[in-house]
Symmetry: D2
Subunit: 181 residues, 4 copies
């Protein structure tokens, strides 16, 4: 069974990033993946100080273990200032090669303004740096306020199809690259 | 008089990033700039939640005001996972166009391994996003442990010359772009 | 007087990139700049072979001289495969620091599909590499076929205002950075 | 059998890029891959004009067919001005999704100066754009003049090991992603 960890890099209440992560998770589960959704809003994570151990923050271990046990990764980031959120980058900084290398990852970004790939490009290079695979399929949700309805459901049909393909690629290729059948 | 704010994005004690910021600051002061060095290790900053106000964290206001009053900016980042630190990105996320737009910035990165421009490239695009100017001169300090001596002084002569040119460019061009004489 | 060289990186007949360059040129002239528009469709340029001299291609010298004499640069690129065109990159490869360093540049990209900053980000880092300045203002023209009318005039008003600001920034800041009054 | 096409983006006689491609090819063949090495110095390719057909240039068809038939791709680029060569980008511009999508690619860059990832990062985003996979392993050869001996053999042992791992990853993961056993 393919295990996939999901993490959204937004602390905003009712964040569109979290909705996007849910959209991905529903599809990934339907394709047979076991999902471990981390909620960064309830995790108590410190700022990364470069060192390895954070005895006062047991959630660092929780974060690392979830990524360690996963075959695949879904990262969702709000695009802040043309890149990924500091919150998400800091969570990645708290981990190292041993938690991320060889995993198969997919990236999703959420913007208030016009769609753009800046955050996803940076995320791709960052994940490569730790020797993760990043699937070619990626999703940039521009003007997020009109992509979802008031109940938090994705109403943009083209985006919905992109989520379908994203989830299919992530599950299928995680299987292939990790040899899970 | 040119006012320059300096910020290092490392929380590691005795961080090389902080030493690099000091190297820049000494030269900038010698060229007549008024320096405001923010110490991210003592500032009490929250994770950015996307909103504007952080009444429980007066240091957010301190951060914003320092950037607001500055003509120029020096940002130093450890390169973590092939990009800027989450700590630095989060500090930038806590600010917006009004604090950063039109400022003249220079970037410095510090790596344990081989020198590389990943973090500086990302930083350049991020600063452009908020309509800051980024000077062409930039410094990537690879294998930082052999660039400084045990007293924290820069001992690599080529790097020292790069710092000289970096500081000269930042002061001279901040004057030009901001019309300060 | 501010001298600005303009180059579009498209060989497509009636290229939108050329129209975009015209839009910029009209505004730059109105602001008092002397424009030197190079037409890459009539220039006879070789593929860059890494060496310095191209005696069989006098247009290489023409290209280099135009950039050499310029204070400012406007580069327009079609976005091909998420980056600048090979045609434009090759023209830049034919030049070196001496032709590009210290110049003040602005970038414009043109896409058939949705607007995106990939080509402009790459262009920014490339120009930095040769120590040119790149103004914060940049223009990504998505779905170019509906931005211009059948006579090749820009009909998108928001874009038109972006061109205004782009031209103003390029002229004003070229003056400042190059000390031209 | 895994088919891999190799292309170097340098027109310089005795280019280090070509030597690097040979180093990769030897290892890929030893691992059972069928190699198709394209020699860009003898291919007669036009500048891309955005259109699809180049009846006067049969080598465009040769290029496209080689990529079309390949499962995997090795691209080597000299790093010019902090990005891939215009020559290589133009060759990629001459192809489209149908020739590149779904292939598994690896990138190698060659620099005269200090090692750097700029060209490889740009190449990664470009290949993603056309929905190719890019393996996490990549090779940046800095100060290429001391990496090879006068007979064109790689003499840097660490680099040689990187080539080993690069080739192993490319063959193994092309098999996995393309289902070739």
């Amino acid at each position: 069974m393919v295990k996939i960890v999901g993490l959204s890099g937004s602390l905003r209440p009712q964040a569109y990033s979290n909705l996007a992560l849910q959209e991905a998770a529903v599809r990934l589960k339907a394709l047979g993946a076991e999902m471990d959704i981390l909620d960064i809003q309830t995790l108590n994570l410190p700022f990364c100080s470069g060192g390895g151990d954070y005895p006062d923050y047991p959630d660092v271990e929780r974060l690392r273990q979830s990524f360690n046990e996963a075959d695949g990764i879904v990262l969702v980031t709000p695009e802040y200032h043309g890149s990924i959120s500091g919150v998400l980058k800091n969570a990645l900084d708290l981990m190292s090669f041993e938690h991320l290398s060889g995993k198969v990852a997919g990236g999703i970004s959420v913007l208030g303004g016009q769609s753009n790939n800046n955050a996803l490009n940076d995320l791709r290079v960052i994940l490569r740096w730790v020797h993760a695979w990043v699937i070619p399929e990626q999703i940039a949700i521009g003007q997020a306020w009109q992509a979802f309805n008031s109940e938090g459901k994705l109403i943009d049909e083209k985006l919905s199809e992109r989520f379908d393909r994203f989830a299919e690629s992530l599950v299928e290729n995680t299987r292939k690259l990790r040899g899970i059948y």
